[in-house]
């Protein structure tokens, strides 16, 4: 498939999924956006409260803020992946997925990849409140830097694509109740793990390099693992799901 067709597919999927999320479950959609916007912002503000920011030189200040923003971005992306793959779980249980496969003019394998990428693109509007909040905070301390936000967003994108793809593949073969348990466990692990990491960084108990490296390495490892699973097993998993 040509890159242009793939991009068209991703755009079509993203727009349709966003519409579906907004149309089908307005309360859940608003709740997810509010949660994604508010929770990381609250964590963010809490951390900042522990640091004498005004006394720090701007390069040190950036060094403190960067991992916190990164960690929070990762959390946002993981949440979006979890929310959107739960939609696929519903589609599977209501036998809609089979019809979507049959109606999409692309292979099922490409469908899943497009879905993973479009899910990540969906993360942009869904996590916008958080990024706006973070930018306002940075602006207040005179270190407003769009590049900083973008550099935090990129590993989050890597994490979101791979996590979504992994969850999609699992959704194909696992019963809905097990997926619900897995998603809940992921949400708890994400909140607890990343909040803990961010706290360590903000209190100076973990070095900044460790703070940045841990989620980045985790994202890359997850991407590699998911890519391998996707290449090697997706056909078998898709066949199992369709059968």
């Amino acid at each position: 498939m040509q890159a242009r067709s793939l991009l068209k597919m991703i755009a079509r999927m993203g727009v349709n999924d966003a519409k579906f999320l907004a149309l089908s479950n307005k309360a859940a959609f608003a709740g997810a956006v509010a949660f994604l916007g508010l929770y990381p912002s609250i964590v963010f503000y809490n951390m900042l409260a522990n640091i004498p920011l005004s006394q720090l030189p701007s390069d040190v200040l950036l060094g403190v803020l960067e991992p916190i923003i990164l960690v929070n971005s990762l959390m946002c992306s993981m949440m979006v992946a979890i929310v959107v793959t739960s939609l696929v779980d519903v589609e599977k249980s209501e036998h809609v997925l089979e019809h979507l496969f049959a109606y999409m003019p692309c292979s099922t394998k490409v469908f899943l990849l497009s879905k993973a990428v479009s899910t990540t693109l969906l993360a942009i509007p869904m996590t916008l409140p958080y990024y706006v909040g973070a930018y306002v905070v940075l602006y207040r301390f005179g270190v407003a830097d769009v590049t900083l936000l973008l550099s935090a967003y990129l590993p989050a994108v890597v994490m979101a694509v791979s996590l979504t793809l992994l969850l999609l593949l699992l959704t194909l073969i696992m019963p809905q109740k097990y997926m619900a348990v897995l998603r809940s466990a992921l949400i708890i692990a994400t909140i607890v793990g990343l909040t803990y990491l961010a706290n360590l960084i903000s209190q100076g108990e973990a070095s900044l390099s460790v703070g940045i490296a841990t989620p980045c390495i985790a994202s890359i490892l997850m991407l590699i693992a998911t890519t391998l699973i996707y290449i090697k097993y997706s056909d078998v998993l898709i066949e199992k799901a369709i059968r």
């Binding site: 068209k8 079509r12 999927m13 727009v15 349709n16 519409k19 579906f20 149309l23 089908s24 479950n25 589609e91 209501e94 036998h95 809609v96 997925l97 089979e98 019809h99 979507l100 496969f101 049959a102 109606y103 999409m104 003019p105 692309c106 292979s107 099922t108 490409v110 056909d235 078998v236 066949e239 199992k240 369709i242 059968r243």
Partner: protein, 306 residues
């Protein structure tokens, strides 16, 4: 559409299709028949390119649907399950599927309007699928398959939930669609009277193999158009006479009478004369037109009540 020596073995070793070959003529209605597990749904999924054949070739509209999934733009599909979003209205459901397939929202509004007209869905458009009766939901699902005027429509048990009026109307619609759009329809059904009404050709699948493929009229002709049912005082003697005449006797549905399938009414008369001349006492005789159901059940070696 063509299946050439197609075998499909699922992971775990289950052979769903075993060296299956059949073709579907353009502008025709082709029925896939077979018991549950015979391979009908697997065939349909291969046509849609959702599954890859383990060996052999599937060609749909001249293309390999698994490697060239763009061919799905020309295929409409009605699955075994409704596959509608519970949270969306019928209108939103149809628009969403159309948007996935065609991409253009304005075009989709037009297309959905057209299928809603054809299947009289306007009163249902604002309702959610779970608020509809099974029959109305099935109408929505069938209507969805015709979005974008597909060249090939594949339907898995399309008429099962419809009331008699809508069954007749959908059958009429399918015939008209084939005629006017030059399209091809492939469908599976357990309702054999519907198959007789609708199909030009049939393929009968049994345990993953094709036991018959060809014209429906030809099948009815080949297998005998008249069914002669005879209840005799001595069944063994009757069967002996029939086998001497080169006829294969079948046990009739009542479990006592014997049925033979013949080419014509006059052949039935000849058989009865021969049986009487052989001194077989007759308790009951009837002739009736052979139905597809009779032939199908003979192919499966089953009784009507099985």
């Amino acid at each position: 559409m063509e299946f050439s020596n197609v075998t499909k073995v699922y992971s775990g070793g289950v052979v769903a299709l075993d060296n299956v070959s059949f073709s579907v003529a353009e502008r025709s209605i082709h029925a896939l028949l077979g018991h549950n597990g015979a391979g009908k749904t697997t065939s349909i999924r291969l046509i849609l390119g959702l599954l890859k054949p383990s060996s052999g070739v599937v060609r749909v509209l001249g293309r390999d649907p698994f490697r060239e999934p763009e061919v799905r733009l020309s295929i409409g599909y009605v699955g075994e399950y409704a596959g509608l979003y519970r949270e969306l209205s019928v209108w939103e459901n149809l628009l969403r599927f159309c948007a996935f397939k065609l991409g253009d929202e304005e075009l989709c509004k037009e297309e959905v309007g057209m299928v809603a007209d054809a299947f009289e869905l306007h009163e249902l458009l604002r309702k959610k699928p779970q608020e509809l009766s099974a029959g109305n939901r099935q109408r929505v699902v069938i209507a969805r398959a015709f979005i974008g005027k597909p060249k090939l429509v594949v339907l898995d048990e399309p008429l099962s939930n419809l009331d008699p009026v809508w069954r007749a109307r959908v059958k009429e619609f399918l015939k008209k669609y084939v005629e006017e759009q030059g399209a091809t329809v492939v469908f599976s059904s357990h309702i054999l009277s519907d198959v007789e009404d609708l199909a030009d050709d049939v393929s009968v699948l049994k345990s993953g193999r094709v036991v018959y493929t060809g014209g429906l009229k030809q099948l009815l002709g080949e297998q005998g158009v008249v069914k002669l049912v005879v209840k005799a005082t001595d069944r063994a003697k009757l069967v002996g006479v029939l086998s001497k005449m080169g006829l294969r006797a079948h046990l009739a549905e009542d479990g006592e009478s014997v049925a033979v399938y013949l080419k014509s009414e006059s052949e039935a008369e000849e058989v009865l004369n021969a049986v009487s001349s052989a001194g077989v006492g007759l308790k009951y005789v009837s002739t009736e037109r052979t139905t597809l159901e009779d032939i199908y059940l003979r192919m499966y070696g089953a009784k009507k009540n099985e």
